[in-house]
Symmetry: C2
Subunit: 199 residues, 2 copies
Amino acid sequence: MYPAPIERLVTELAKLPGIGQRTAQRLAFHILRADDGDAQALAEAVREVKEKVGLCEICFNLAEGPRCEICEDPRRDRALICVVEQPADVIPIERTHEYRGLYHVLGGALSPIDGVDPDDLRITELVARIDGDEVSEVVVATNPTTTGEATAHHVAGLLRGRVAITRLASGLPVGADLEHADEVTLGRAFAGRRSLDAA
Amino acid sequence: MYPAPIERLVTELAKLPGIGQRTAQRLAFHILRADDGDAQALAEAVREVKEKVGLCEICFNLAEGPRCEICEDPRRDRALICVVEQPADVIPIERTHEYRGLYHVLGGALSPIDGVDPDDLRITELVARIDGDEVSEVVVATNPTTTGEATAHHVAGLLRGRVAITRLASGLPVGADLEHADEVTLGRAFAGRRSLDAA
């Protein structure tokens, strides 16, 4: 009922996750009213991201070339590898400024129900990195979910004996209160309790 | 912290209404993972909508050429003009299949607070259409909001005596129940009550 180009834009926008038909219409009308520069910049940004961004050949993080900025950075500690599920998981870890090693992006987590087997993840590539380089520790930072935990155990099983393996601590988030903590998190916080003497 | 093309795409997406930084990131990652065809289609749709869609020279509805499909349709009743605020308002009216006349899109509603004066709306153009064509009735279908009502009264004042002017009925939505109706709507429903004998 709208002119065809609007209908096409609504259709394309509605393919994005969490964007329903009504939101897509609202966005399409906004783009229609926006100045030409903004619309062109959006179109160009979509094109450019597909054209220029690929995966790092070492760690499979996002990269604007064969290798990502982190793998290219000579100041990073090459004896440490942090294993994450997705490229998006790298950012929050980088923001902490607590970690100065490299990464390895698996590309997902083991989930037999969803048909994700070890072969679907970049686990072979991780093992090859451990064997090849002078890696001393692998920090497994998959999500603290069922699939993330399963992946962590699988990876740990494969690497045991070859390298030190650690897992991110699970417990109460900073700023949380006990009253509203779920029992699984609270249980983890108890199991992982640390001596205050040692601190 | 992401490769530059991703940052640019996130920036452009976050300019869209209702899309915050986190949603923009989620959408950008989706586009990155989507197949090339979908991403190209989205970029092309954005470009095309800006390039090909303009406003109808008669009614200011959206048009893929000098005139919109409705103004070009010889089956429409040219003696009737329905006045709406925005192009998006045309669609729900068309969906009712109750109206077979033409439209006039004002481009907004009078709102002194937001600096929208009669000069900012296509009111002069509406008056010219009434004077020029064989129009017998103007249906004012601005929104039943403060600004929409103000606009309706302004338009009615200008056209009074030249043409019949009607306003869409205000009242209880079909399917609503009295218990949950707000008092303004219920008041309107009373004021606009109709004889069942006449029905």
